[in-house]
């Protein structure tokens, strides 16, 4: 039974990271109907930014919460800028083109970022610094680290912030309007370009947040780290109903738990296949996701 709880804790902590990345996919999909393949690589750049800024701020080992907070903010800002840049240079000029064009572009951007990072920073994995001291608590036989608790709380705070942003602010209203019908939103005075740009910024910042939380728990940074994580987060977004913010959070948690339990109960080598099996099952059985509504294809 203690083993079960241990997997539950690990699954939740992995799941929140998936959920944070999934939110970026879902937001961009909501406004542009585009799977932003490059989102996973914004996550990767966020992790590298965290690594370098932590080194710049202070030496290895002397961790503090202030330093962790500074690293988190720097990484989120850099990634937000990158996300806006990608949107401006690669996606905006193609907005009127067929969706296939945008999809190929997104794959291209992703491939460019991954391999560019490999050229710049070599393919060798690097160790993510310990930003603060972590203690391990025991609840019965279940180990929980303060790192996991803090990561979980930060992630929940970010999601709550996003929920507020989308449903309680003018920007959120604009975003939902663009998502619903961009041309009508434009007629009603919504600055469509700016809204989409900010959507990318927010999604990318969340990805960077996820990257720092991920780096704290799995301290290994490499150019292709985003690939698999990003795909799984995308599955989480589809699972919850893509375009649906709370759905993506639930999808992330479900996926994290599913993966930990499959890995924990003797099938660890199939870990990477779990997400795709779930994806195929959900697409065949309920393509609109758990919380999504089915939308008729426009002709």
């Amino acid at each position: 039974m203690s083993e079960f709880f241990q997997h539950l804790v690990n699954g939740l902590s992995l799941g929140t990271i998936y959920a944070l990345i999934a939110l970026g996919y879902t937001m961009v999909y909501g406004v542009l109907k585009l799977i932003n393949f490059a989102h996973a690589d914004v996550f990767m750049i966020g992790a590298y930014t965290g690594l370098f800024s932590a080194r710049a701020i202070g030496g290895e080992g002397e961790g503090s919460y202030a330093r962790a907070g500074a690293v988190l903010v720097i990484s989120m800002l850099v990634s937000a800028g990158l996300g806006m840049l990608i949107e401006r240079l690669a996606y905006r000029p193609l907005r009127a083109r067929p969706r296939l064009t945008a999809l190929i572009t997104a794959i291209g951007v992703s491939f460019f970022l991954e391999n560019g990072a490999q050229l710049l920073w070599s393919p060798d994995p690097r160790r993510f610094p310990r930003l603060f001291e972590s203690h391990t608590f025991f609840l019965g036989n279940t180990a929980i680290s303060s790192m996991q608790i803090i990561a979980f709380l930060v992630a929940v705070a970010m999601m709550a912030g996003l929920q507020y942003l989308v449903f309680r602010t003018r920007f959120g209203l604009a975003m939902r309007a663009v998502s619903f019908e961009p041309s009508t939103a434009a007629l009603m005075g919504v600055p469509v370009d700016r809204t989409i740009s900010i959507t990318f910024a927010v999604g990318s910042a969340l990805a960077a947040g996820a990257a720092i939380l991920f780096g704290l728990q799995y301290p290994r940074v490499e150019p292709f780290m985003g690939l698999m994580l990003g795909l799984k987060a995308f599955v989480a977004a589809v699972l919850g109903g893509i375009g649906n913010v709370p759905g993506s959070m639930v999808g992330g948690l479900v996926l994290g738990l599913a993966e930990e339990f499959v890995a924990g109960y003797g099938l660890s080598s199939y870990r990477d296949a779990v997400a795709f099996a779930i994806l195929i099952a959900i697409l065949i059985l309920r393509p609109e996701g758990i919380f999504g509504r089915s939308v008729a294809e426009k002709v």
Binding site: P98, I104, G108, S110, N115, L283
Partner: protein, 336 residues
């Protein structure tokens, strides 16, 4: 006479291939021959993927998975077949027959996977389908990595070296011939109709579901054959050579050459395979530039360099005009 006329080009091509095969130095001594075979494999992969991505307009990014399935199945089979020999025929003939058998079985297994991947395309379009093909490709790789019978993550070695220049280029020839004939047939026209406007095609009585699945099956079959040939001149296979990155390389060839142009795919496959070999210094930047190339192409010329035309339909060689499908391809989404 009809039969002679239909089969003469086939016989002539095979004869030429056989002659070149004799003149070429043997495989394991010459690096250039190895590159030549790589070119052939990539041509097969690009042309077969073009049937789905370019001709039918259903974006698939898991081609390496089909290649892996075909390659592993064929290799697994021929390792066992290598212990036998047909009586009363020369070694070369017996090996050739075994190779063909292994390749066809490998192709069939890949085609079966293509059928399974094609089925979700009944319900999914565009981006979702792309992700599902990617997922299938990755699942295939994970399954191979976990199958001890084919060496697991270590890979499969001691595959009999049965495929040389002749086998690979006969494969290229058959792939080209089949896609060319397919495009000129009713089936090919239906596939093109689906790419241009799926709803209109459906309304005109095209069985879009059936044709999309068929395109996947045929494409996967040839990818499987290509994988089998690859296995038989590499003589070893590793799951890590069939990742997402391999699939993207093939996608780049199709997109660069032109979405729907067979000769474009061939040319792009040849150029993109040879360029890094000729310019060693470039190799480092190859992958990053693939990404940039996709982005720039989509910005400047979304239907690829040759668009939907074949190379001989371009300006200096063109005899009669053809409606400009490129412009049609680039029309905004949602417009009628």
């Amino acid at each position: 006479m009809q039969i002679v006329r239909a089969w003469a080009p086939v016989a002539i091509t095979l004869a030429i291939l056989a002659v070149v095969n004799v003149l070429l130095p043997s495989l394991n001594e010459d690096y250039r021959v190895h590159v030549l075979l790589d070119v052939g494999i990539n041509v097969m992969l690009a042309v077969s993927l073009n049937l789905v991505n370019g001709v039918t307009g259903q974006f698939s990014i898991g081609h390496a998975g089909f290649m892996a399935l075909g390659g592993y199945t064929a290799a697994f089979l021929s390792i066992r077949l290598a212990a036998y020999q047909l009586h009363g025929v020369p070694d070369a003939v017996s090996q050739g027959l075994f190779l063909v058998l292994a390749l066809v079985v490998g192709g069939m297994v890949a085609a079966l996977a293509g059928l399974i991947v094609g089925l979700p395309s009944l319900r999914l379009r565009g981006d979702y389908l792309a992700i599902v093909t990617l997922g299938f490709g990755e699942i295939i790789r994970v399954l191979i990595e976990n199958t001890e019978a084919v060496g697991g993550a270590r890979g499969l070695s001691n595959i009999p070296p049965w495929a040389g220049f002749f086998a690979v280029y006969a494969g290229v020839f058959v792939t080209l011939l089949c896609s060319r004939r397919l495009l000129a047939s009713t089936h090919g026209r239906a596939l093109l109709a689906i790419r241009e406007d799926e709803v209109a095609a459906e309304a005109m009585g095209v069985n879009t579901v059936g044709y999309k699945v068929r395109a996947f099956v045929v494409s996967a079959f040839f990818a499987g054959i290509a994988g089998g040939l690859y296995a038989h001149y590499q003589t070893n296979l590793a799951p890590k050579s069939f990742t997402f990155i391999r699939s993207i390389e093939i996608v780049v060839m199709v997109v660069l050459g032109g979405m729907g142009s067979i000769s474009g795919s061939v040319l792009a496959a040849v150029v993109l395979t040879l360029a890094p070999e000729l310019l060693r210094a470039l190799d480092q930047y190859r992958m990053a530039s693939y990404g940039l190339m996709l982005v720039l192409l989509m910005l400047a010329r979304p239907s690829g360099i040759f668009g939907t035309r074949e190379i001989w339909e371009l300006w200096p060689l063109r005899k009669k005009s053809k409606p400009d499908v490129d412009r049609e391809l680039a029309r905004p989404a949602g417009s009628p």
